[in-house]
Symmetry: C2
Subunit: 264 residues, 2 copies
DNA sequence: CGAATCATTGAATGGGCTCAAGGGACGTGG
DNA sequence: CCACGTCCCTTGAGCCCATTCAATGATTCG
């Protein structure tokens, strides 16, 4: 725990000097990186762009040559049916490398949409590949970062395939509470600047029914959303209603030994 | 194309001598592996086990120390709600490494269920890690293998989140047709030894409604399932109905240059 | 202050679910 | 070879959750 805190504050200090420091911090949450490996990551080139709310970061079907790190803001990954209906397949908070998967799969994994005004640091695939090739532990950390994303996708699939509307929304809110909170904590209040239409796209229901389901959650005295701010009144109740189990987020690594596998 | 065929038949020859040769063949579909790297993969230790239909390969929440290669049979990955409802999050055909993800994420990614009698080759994580650490291209191939799985999960999420029952089943059948066919081909007839209850778990609907939806597909003269055998009568119609686009499966690599990224 | 977007609510419709019963297919044992 | 039990498939009836269509308030922003 203590080393985590030190590590965290160190990253904060670096952050002012280098935008990708939070990325290293995120990776270090689940993988061990030596100082040399961290330096290699800090040496990654990038350029920063700002994207307005409701604008695409990457387009559907586009072949990308960069990965997009979310420095500030909120980004959604989505797929789309032929008729134009959208389904969010993930939500990326600041500190996430949104499409690290594109390094090995440059196409066909959905598009990215800025859900709020967002600052993106674009890191060339070429540079990420080089770092992964030189340091097996970096390749492993990248792979594991994607693995957490995959585990989250499975959980979403379970949630959407087998939950009712109220449960789906509750589960999403539990996940957001954990992820906004960071390691081993969860937040009962947080800003979630999503419209009800976007919540509908995330949970696979209609905007109107999102509204009714949020009212239901209010009536059950579990949580409220007021002016884009989420207020969870009964965490245990919400967890129980939605069948939430935070294991898949791999956020509780603090009390387990972190693993370093690929070192020769 | 030609080299692919040669490669394929070469793997077939080896297959009789080494059970993991089809795994290399599968990886080589999307990644470039040198003879030395292929040898390293062939040197992986494993032990074979046979598992009866409807029995678990791995259990929910279990920490695994092996990855499970499907030599013969059919394996489903699933998650489960507190009330015991299941949702399949993937179907693995023979030739798939079912839980390669567990190498970097030994827990929390669902359980594996043998859908038919299945032969599993269990490969120790330790050996897979060592191979990935020694050969960056192997790490990359593993990562990419997981990436295709992830892309498939996103497609399932879109399908289940935004499709109706008939479309969900049609989409699943299109995917199976492509995957049973292999590279750049699809099969209009194939055996799919799943019960309607398992199809329900895969598509997020109820068994009864699977039955009605299959009848609907029959009435539309798109496809029939008779005695566990799928017969697609109108491929274009089924593709159109379900909004199927095979891009996400990354099976059409034959006409693109394969990529080799992580080589230093 | 006006315009656009978003949230909220009602009424009617419909897709999928639940409950329930009957019919096949298949394996097992007599 | 047939009888029997067990799954599994099939179909019906009624209900309910979620959708659709539509209208009215609330917010936000230029």
């Amino acid at each position: 725990m203590r080393s985590r805190l030190l590590n965290g504050s160190r990253a904060m200090v670096i952050a002012s000097a280098h935008g990708l420091a939070p990325f290293i911090d995120r990776l270090a949450l689940r993988s061990v990186l030596s100082p040399g490996e961290q330096d290699a990551l800090l040496a990654l080139p990038f350029d920063a762009i700002t994207i307005g709310a409701r604008r695409n970061v990457t387009r559907l079907g586009e072949i990308s040559s960069h990965a997009s790190f979310v420095a500030t803001g909120l980004v959604g990954r989505f797929g789309q049916t032929a008729s134009g209906q959208r389904q969010l397949t993930g939500i990326h908070l600041s500190g996430d490398m949104a499409d690290l998967l594109s390094v090995v799969r440059p196409t066909g994994v959905g598009a990215l949409l800025a859900l709020t005004e967002t600052t993106i640091l674009r890191v060339p695939h070429r540079a990420l590949r080089a770092a992964a090739a030189q340091f097996p532990a970096i390749a492993e950390a990248f792979w594991r970062h994607c693995a957490v994303d995959t585990a989250t996708l499975m959980q979403w699939l379970l949630n959407i395939g087998r939950g009712d509307a109220v449960g789906r929304l509750g589960h999403l809110m539990c996940e957001m509470a954990m992820r906004f909170g960071g390691e081993r904590e969860y937040r009962l209040q947080f800003d979630l600047p999503l419209t009800q239409e976007q919540l509908a796209d995330a949970t696979g229901i209609t905007p109107v029914h999102v509204n009714r389901s949020l009212r239901r959650l209010r009536e059950l005295k579990l949580m409220t959303i007021c002016r884009k701010r989420v207020d969870i009144h009964d965490w245990d109740g919400l967890v129980s209603l939605s069948g939430f189990d935070p294991d898949y987020l791999a956020l509780d690594i603090g009390n387990r030994p972190k693993v370093r596998l690929l070192s020769a």
